[in-house]
Symmetry: C2
Subunit: 230 residues, 2 copies
């Protein structure tokens, strides 16, 4: 952290992607960490991962924001207790039931509001186009359009740009990048289902485990089961 | 309300502009009302106005969402108790202290999430470009860019369009339109400062009073003072 560096808000869920994104942002920016609680089943564990990551990166400017109205609005198995979390089907190109409608727009709107107040000029978000199982709000064109919304909707002297440094990486590439940058991957949490031992079978665990397997590296997290994903 | 009509989410703050916008939307759409509590001083009174308006329009599909994180993020006299609400200066072209950074993006993001879940194809918002005292997120280009974000960030079969039917109207024109449509203007609330008798001197009261004066019509609300604005 260098006070001459420009300030960046990093969206840190507590997962692998946001950890590696923070490690990339850390090379060029002074970091501020934003965590969103949108009512997901594993929020308690993700919040802990967020705090562990902030400590590890030495980030003191942190904000936790409750967006649990997304749970009330419903429509997603991540937040609606009435919907089952589907087991992973990595070949499925349909939009999965864990999709929270327009979630990233809600997250980015909060991030821009905070960035404008604290004088940050960059937003880093660990969105991944290929591995995101088809979430429409993880695609590059979504972020490009959102940059135009920021320019049009903030003060004339505010200049905030969204950075998606891992958007074109595979999960294996993200993991290798994290290892190269000494990112604290052991302090992250990815499972959509469980708060203590990762289930190993939800979409998020499957993508993560397959990524480590393809990278030829061991995942430091505990799992209830470690299927081999090809 | 006709079940053949397409469904629209109307953003209803409880003020004059959202009331007239709802009256316009009501001619062509089945309405669902969304109210946001972003921690403004007058939320209690605005919420009452929202409920009165929903009853008057016969709208049963209503959602109240708490976005008080905007208050914690601060930067606005509307939500920050440490900042004074400035008295009106209608000639001032600077962005006023009541500006909540990127507020409309937060509001629209919530509205799109809800619209996608309930199957609405339109969002109506009573933004006004000219009378908005220079809020950047009230300009037509902001909404045009947000429409692109909606297209890019929602499911392929979701088609939601933002409608800003009063954006180019003066306050006097909005009031006349409301009267023409029998909109319940007596049930609205506009004051940024007070919960019972409108102050008459904040930006919002000044714009409203001047609008009624220019329209040559009496404002049905009680005011502590009714300055003549020219």
């Amino acid at each position: 952290m260098n006070s001459i560096q420009p300030k960046a808000v990093v969206l840190v869920s507590g997962g692998l992607d946001s950890c590696v994104t923070a490690a990339i942002a850390n090379r060029t920016h002074q970091l501020a960490f934003l965590h969103l609680n949108y009512g997901q089943r594993t929020e308690q564990r993700e919040r802990q991962a967020f705090e562990d990551l902030a400590r590890d990166f030495g980030v003191t400017e942190c904000l936790n924001v409750d967006v649990t109205h997304l749970a009330r609005i419903g429509g997603s198995s991540l937040t609606d207790p009435g919907m089952a979390v589907t087991e992973a089907d990595l070949e499925n190109k349909e939009i999965p039931s864990s999709y929270v409608p327009f979630r990233n727009a809600n997250i980015l709107a909060v991030a821009v509001s905070w960035a404008e107040v604290i004088g940050a000029t960059a937003l880093f978000i660990g969105a991944v186009a290929e591995d995101s199982s088809g979430y429409p709000d993880c695609r590059p064109e979504f972020f490009e359009h959102f940059n135009h919304v920021i320019d049009a909707g903030t003060k004339p002297d505010t200049h905030i740009r969204i950075h998606t440094p891992i958007i074109h990486m595979s999960k294996a590439e993200i993991i290798k990048t994290g290892i190269d940058l000494n990112a604290p991957l052991d302090q992250t949490w990815s499972c959509y289902q469980s708060n203590d031992v990762a289930c190993g079978v939800c979409d998020s665990c499957a993508l993560r485990l397959r990524g480590f397997q393809r990278a030829g590296l061991p995942d430091p997290l505990p799992y209830a089961t470690r299927p081999v994903y090809t």
